[in-house]
Structure formats: C-alpha cells, structure tokens
C-alpha cells in the first residue's frame, strides 16, 4: 500500500465519519464542529489531488469563514439541544432513508461499473505534471481570461447577496413582516 493510497483511505474515512456525525449529532454545535472537521478533510483530499490553491481556499472560506458564521448563528440562538432533531413520519422517514440509500447505491454502482477503465492521464496535462505554483497560475489564467465573465457576475452576485443578507437580518419581522 503506497502512501498515496493510505492517505486517501485515511482521509476518506475521516470525511465520511465526520460527515456522518454532522447529520447524526443531536446538538447542532457538535454538528457544526463535525462539519468543520469534514471541511478540513476535504481540503486535505484536495491536496492529494494536487489542488493546493483550492485546498487553501477551502480551508479559509469554509473551515474559516462559513463555519464561523454557522457557529455564531448557533450561539446567537443559544440552542443546546433539540427535542426533535429528526423528522417523525414513519412512512416518509422510511422513504427518505430508502431513497437516499438507493441513490447512493445507484451512484456508486454506476461509477464502479461505468468507469471500469481508469481515465488515462494525458501527456499534455496541465495539472498533474505541473508543480504547485503552476497549477495556481493555470487556475488564475483560466479564471481571469477564459471565465472572466462568470467571475465578474459572481462578484456582482456576492455583492447583491451581501446586501440582501444584511437587509434580511436587519428588518424587524424578517421574511414574515406584517407591519
């Protein structure tokens, strides 16, 4: 077993377990912490895939900013634990779990059966062969040249969302304002 393989299995185990605990923890704070753990695991997986820049961003944006946001809100609400953390309907619950199970089964099955032959890494690959700095450069070039429009649009959208989020949380009654 190579180091790469070992790393993958380890990270996969960490992310899946912590992901599982996100949805299983009754106390939302624990869920949040588990999510943070998952984020870190994902960042590490990005590293194994040579996406160093993304791994960094992942750590900063997700594990940093977003998780802080979650935790802050949770603390704002001051919710220790919930009485009914999970949905109650027996039939619907069964259907939900079944559909999730079948879906994952389908995907896994499809993936393992559909992609028998591993994808050949092409020679002209601009990721695998290139060192760290170059991937970031390639990413930047792609982002700012090829997809610059999408980038700008996203920027505008972020602005709008920022304003919207402020407006939403500021108003007296929120979405259900009556007066």
């Amino acid at each position: 077993m190579t180091a790469d393989a070992f790393l993958f299995w380890f990270l996969a185990f960490v992310t899946v377990v912590s992901g599982l605990s996100v949805i299983l923890m009754v106390n939302p704070i624990y869920s949040a912490l588990s999510l943070a753990m998952t984020m870190i695991g994902v960042a590490a997986i990005f590293v194994t895939l040579n996406a160093y820049f993304l791994a960094g961003v992942q750590l900063i944006v997700y594990a940093g900013a977003v998780m802080v946001l979650f935790v802050m809100v949770l603390m704002l609400f001051d919710l220790k634990h919930e009485i009914q953390a999970f949905t109650r309907g027996r039939l619907t619950g069964a259907i939900k779990i079944a559909s999730v199970g079948i879906l994952s089964g389908l995907i896994v099955g499809a993936v393992t059966m559909g992609l028998k032959t591993p994808v050949v890494i092409t020679a002209s690959s601009d990721v695998a062969a290139a060192p760290t700095v170059d991937t970031t450069r390639a990413l930047a070039e792609n982002l700012f040249i090829k997809n610059v429009l999408g980038f700008e649009v996203l920027g505008v959208m972020l602005l709008v969302i920022a304003v919207g989020a402020v407006a939403l949380s500021r108003s007296k009654g929120g979405t259900h304002a009556r007066d």
């Binding site: 949905t87 619907t92 939900k96 559909s99 999730v100 079948i102 879906l103 389908l106 099955g109 499809a110």
Partner: protein, 647 residues
C-alpha cells in the same frame, strides 16, 4: 279594365296599409278616423274583389283562373313556393264574402266600438285579419295558405284577448291560439306527407296530380295526409275534438265574433277541404271520418247550445254546430253544398252576431239572456233583422239557410258515401237548432221584459243597423242562387247557378250520377220532413218560453241528470284540463325538478366532487413541509436515474 295582378295586389295590400296606418297611430282613441281608415281599406278590397270576380265571370268556365306570383318565397331543392295568389271559382266567392261581410262588420264596429279607448288598435287588428284571411283563401300553395292560416289564428288571438286586462279574456285568446296550433301542427305534417307524395305543395298541381284510383288503406299516404289536414281543419273550424276554444273566443268584441268566429276564419277548414277536393276524394276513409265528425259536432254542439244563457255562447255553439254541417257536407262529397252553406251561414250568422252585438250594446254590455226579454219594442230593427237570421238558420223556405242546409241533408242521405244515419243526425241537429234558436229569440226579444230597472235598452245607431239590414237581405236572397233541381224544375227551370259555377273545380264522387238522379220523390219527402221537424221544434220552443214561460224549468227538473251533463258541456273542458293540461304541467315540473336539477346537475356535481376528491388526495402531498418536498425531488431523481441506468 285593371289588370288582375294589380287588382290582387290592391286587394291584399289595402287592408295591410290600413293596418299599418292604424297600427302606427294605435294610441289614438279617435274612432272616426280609425274606423274610416279601416273601413275604406276593406271597402277598396271589396271593390277590387268585385272587379276580380267580374273578370272571372268573363272568362270561359275551363279557364276561370287568375293567377299571380309576386316573388319566390322559398326555393330549396324540390320545394318551390312562391308568394303566388290565385283567384278561381272557389276563392273568388271567398274573397267576396270576406271583403263584403268584412266591410259591413267594419262599419258596424265603428258604432259598436266608439267608446273603447283601444279602438284604433282594434281596427288595425281587424284589417290585419282581413289581410291574412285573403292570403289564406288566395294562396296558390298549401304553404302560402298556411301563412294565412296561422295569420288569422294570430289575429284571432289578438282580438279575443283584446280586452287583455281581464285575465279570463287573455286566457281565452291563448287557448284559441294553442288549440289552433295543435291543428296547425297536424296541418304541417299533412303538408309534408302530400309534399313527399306528390313533390309539390302547389294546390293546382296537387289537384292535377291527385290519383284517380281510390285509396282504400288507412295508412295510405293520401289518406294520412288528408287526415292530418283535416285535424288542422278541426282546429281552425272548431270541430270535435278541438272545438273547445270557440265558445271561449266569445270573450272578444262581438263584431270580431261575427267576422272571425262565424263568417270567415272558422270556415277556413271547410274552404281548405273544398280547395283540395280532388285529393280528399281519393281517400274515402278520410271522407268518412270527416262526415262522422261533422255530424257528431253538429249534434253535440247543438245540445250544448240548448242550455246556454249567454247570448253569444248560444250563437257560438250554433256556429260550431253549423260548421259541423259543412263538414258533414264535404265529408259525403257534397263540396258544393258545403261551400254553399259556408256562404249562407256567413250571411245569417254574421247577421245574428251583429244583432246580438246590437243587443249587447243597447243593453249596456249585458249578455245574459235571462236578464233580457221583450226587447222587440225597444229595438225594432235589430229584432226584425234577427228574425230573418232566425228563419234562415232554422231552415224555413225561402230563406237562405233552407236551401243550403237542405241540400246538405239530402246529399248526406243520397250521396254514394252518405248514409241514412248521417241524415238522421243532421235532422236531429236541425231540430235542436230550431229549438235553441227559438229559445234565444223568445228569451231575448219576445215575452215579458226581465230587464233590470236601471238599464234602458235602446236601438243602435245607423252604422250598426245598416250592416244588419244588408245582411238581413242577404239572408233572404242569398240562397236563391243555389236552388235545388227539384224545386227549380217545379218553379220553371230555374238553374242551380251555384252548382254550375263550381262545377269545373269540384270533383264528383265516382259513382254519384247513377244514384242521385231520379229520386225526386224521396228528395221532396226528406225536404218536407226536415222543414216539418224544424217547425215543430221551433213551435215547441215558442210554447215553452213564450206561452208558458215556467214550463222549461219543470222539464229541466224532470231530466235533471241529462240536463246537468249538457249544461256542463259534457265536462269536456274539465276533462282536457285534468287529463291533458294538468298532467303536462305536473310532468314538466317534475322533469325540471327531478331530471334537470336533481339528476343531471347532481351527476355533474358528482363528477366535480370526484375531481375535488382527487385534488384533496393530492393536497395531502402538498403539506408545506419542505423536507417532504425535498423527498419528492429525491424520489424523482432516484426513479429517473434508475430508469436511465436500467435501460
């Protein structure tokens, strides 16, 4: 001389114009202008009718036919109907009667209606009636005739309900129209049968196409068609079973009763049959039905006439009865005699109605003959003319009614399709007629006065008495143009002008010649018998009501049950109401309530409920729970994905 097309146009349009003039100024209550316009309009028609008749006389007997077609009315496939009008021997006489008697009655109305506020409207209707009646008699096809046929029914409806504020009078108008409509529906069916049998509705062509072979089956096209037409005639001419409207029609103004419900409109059925005699003659079964119904009506209506106390009702039942005679005549194939009686009846019955109008007018709207009596001295002219009418109707020679009625009775006996029973019925009817007419005379004019002290009877004015006198004269001489052969021979070869005149257009029954001739003695005997019966009956009535006024009450008591039946008109109206009208209304109500509201609507609501049920089932899914919605997405994804993968 004016050309006949123009004359026919004037004949028809003059009353129409009068209708429009009076119709536009219908609010006016100036009876003089209205009356003058209407009377002159009909007068012009009368003059053109006379001119037309003279033209007709000038033509040779085979070609006596003045036809005109103004425009094409309907033209679909084989159906070609023109607004065409024909004056021939039969319609020539009819237009003379209609416009002649019509003019007199218009004149009479000027006096009779002068105090009525709706007088202008009245004259407008009257003119419209004349117009429609002329269309009826002149129409060259059955459909054109039907236009007039319904048109006169309409005018009759309007005029019966003329005083519409009285609910009963309005109802009488409605009853008349609807009863007529029943007949009309049958008439339409008759037209259809004839149309699809002969391929035309033109009367002249139909008469020409009529098969020579006698149709013996009941279900033959001609028999059915003529039967249907006859049902139409029973509606218009008030025969069993549709006679019930005519007595009620007396709700209208009296001149209307004289014009429409005695002289002209009600005879339309007889006229129609005479017009189509070549076709009717092919269907002996129909003829038999007509004769029997005619005879039955004659007797039945006469018996009812015995017990009536309303002066107009007596005359109305008398009219029904006399119409029965006419149908008896045409039923036994004596079309000429039927037409003859139609004419004389128009004279004397119009006279009697107008006379009764004069009485009612003089008595200030009193119609009950129990409250009259002894009017002879107050109304001499009315009495005298009424007397002439009375003599005519009971068949005393040489008054008009004698000749026509006698000819009918004789032919009912002697014609090949006649029967002694028909003669007997006719004679019985004659006896009853003589009785109730004498009773009417006695209670109204003779005997002691029973007039209310407050009422002061007076003779009517000139506009009313002149028509009476003219009609009185016609009631005397009207019959002299059709003197029977036997009498004619006896008096020195006076020809029967009437028969000669009609000969080209009337078909004889196939075997009639052989039997009819050379039975002079029988004819004399029957003639004497009928006159004798009538006289005895009249004298009995005179004795009962004038000599011994109380005796009628005694007889009434003696035959109480019979009297009750007759006095209640055999409960025919009641039977119609409780067996036909009321069930119809009840059925309709339950149809509406049970089928429309409670069945069809309920069914649709059931369907709607099903849709609602389906909706509310699906509504459960739409429970507002976001996770539930997310689950639907998930399930959808699973289903689609598995479908894609399994393929």
């Amino acid at each position: 001389m004016l050309n006949h097309e123009l004359l026919i146009a004037i004949l028809l349009l003059s009353p129409l114009l009068g209708f429009f003039i009076n119709g536009i100024r219908f609010r006016s209550s100036n009876y003089l202008i209205a009356g003058a316009v209407a009377t002159v309009a009909v007068g012009i028609s009368f003059v053109s009718a006379v001119l037309l008749f003279l033209q007709l006389v000038d033509l040779s007997p085979e070609n006596r036919r003045l036809a005109v077609s103004f425009f094409e009315w309907m033209a679909i496939d084989k159906l070609r109907v023109n607004a065409g009008f024909v004056v021939d021997q039969i319609s020539g006489i009819m237009i003379l009667i209609i416009t002649g008697v019509g003019t007199l009655i218009h004149l009479f109305s000027v006096g009779y209606m002068h105090h009525d506020k709706g007088v202008t409207k009245y004259f407008a209707y009257l003119n419209l009636f004349i117009f429609n009646m002329l269309i009826l008699v002149l129409g060259d096809s059955l459909l054109t005739m039907f236009v007039g046929w319904e048109g006169v029914g309409l005018c009759s409806y309007l005029l019966i309900g003329f005083w519409f504020s009285d609910s009963a009078k309005a109802a009488a108008g409605m009853k008349a129209f609807i009863t007529n409509r029943i007949g009309d529906a049958a008439f339409i069916l008759g037209m259809f049968i004839l149309f699809f049998t002969f391929g035309t509705l033109n009367i002249h062509e139909l008469n020409g196409l009529a098969p020579t072979l006698v149709e013996s089956s009941w279900l033959g096209a001609v028999t059915l068609g003529t039967l249907m037409l006859f049902i139409g005639a029973t509606g218009k001419s008030a025969q069993i079973p549709l006679y019930v409207w005519l007595p009620d029609a007396m709700a209208g103004p009296t001149p209307v009763s004289a014009l429409i419900h005695a002289a002209t409109m009600v005879t339309a059925g007889v006229y129609m049959i005479v017009r189509l005699n070549p076709i009717f003659i092919v269907a002996p079964n129909t003829m038999m039905v007509i004769a029997i119904i005619g005879a039955a009506t004659a007797v039945l209506a006469a018996t009812i006439g015995l017990t009536q106390y309303d002066i107009k009702k007596v005359l109305a039942y008398s009219t029904v009865s006399q119409l029965g005679y006419m149908f008896l005549a045409v039923g036994v194939g004596a079309f000429g005699a039927g037409m003859f009686h139609l004419m004389t009846h128009a004279f004397f019955k119009a006279l009697m109605f107008l006379g009764s109008g004069s009485v009612i007018h003089g008595m200030h709207e009193e119609q009950d003959i129990r409250k009259m009596g002894g009017l002879k001295k107050y109304m001499p002219i009315t009495h005298f003319t009424f007397l002439l009418g009375w003599l005519a109707i009971i068949g005393i020679p040489p008054f008009a009614g004698f000749f026509s009625k006698d000819e009918i009775l004789w032919l009912a006996f002697s014609s090949p399709s006649g029967h002694w029973a028909l003669w007997a019925a006719g004679a019985l009817g004659a006896a009853l007629t003589a009785f109730y007419m004498t009773r009417l005379m006695a209670l109204t004019f003779w005997g002691k006065s029973r007039v209310d002290k407050k009422v002061h009877p007076h003779e009517s004015g000139l506009t009313m008495t002149i028509p009476l006198m003219v009609l009185g004269l016609l009631s005397i001489v009207g019959g002299w143009i059709g003197i029977p052969h036997v009498i004619g021979e006896y008096l020195g070869h006076i020809p029967n002008y009437w028969e000669h005149w009609l000969e080209p257009v009337i078909k004889k029954l196939p075997t009639s010649d052989a039997i009819v001739s050379h039975q002079t003695s029988t004819e004399w005997a029957l003639m004497g018998a009928s006159v004798l019966i009538a006289s005895i009956s009249a004298i009995t009535a005179y004795w009962m009501y004038v000599v011994r006024p109380g005796s009628s009450e005694k007889i009434k008591k003696a035959i109480r049950p019979v009297y009750e039946v007759v006095n209640n008109k055999y409960w025919v109206d009641e039977a119609y109401f409780s067996w036909i009208i009321n069930p119809l209304i009840q059925t309709s109500k339950s149809l509406w309530y049970y089928i429309d509201v409670n069945f069809i609507d309920k069914m649709t609501f059931k369907v709607a409920d099903m849709a609602m049920g389906g909706g509310s089932f699906l509504k459960v899914l739409q429970n507002g729970n976001m996770q539930q919605y997310a689950m639907y997405i998930g399930v959808g994804v699973v289903v689609v994905l598995s479908f894609v993968l399994m393929r």
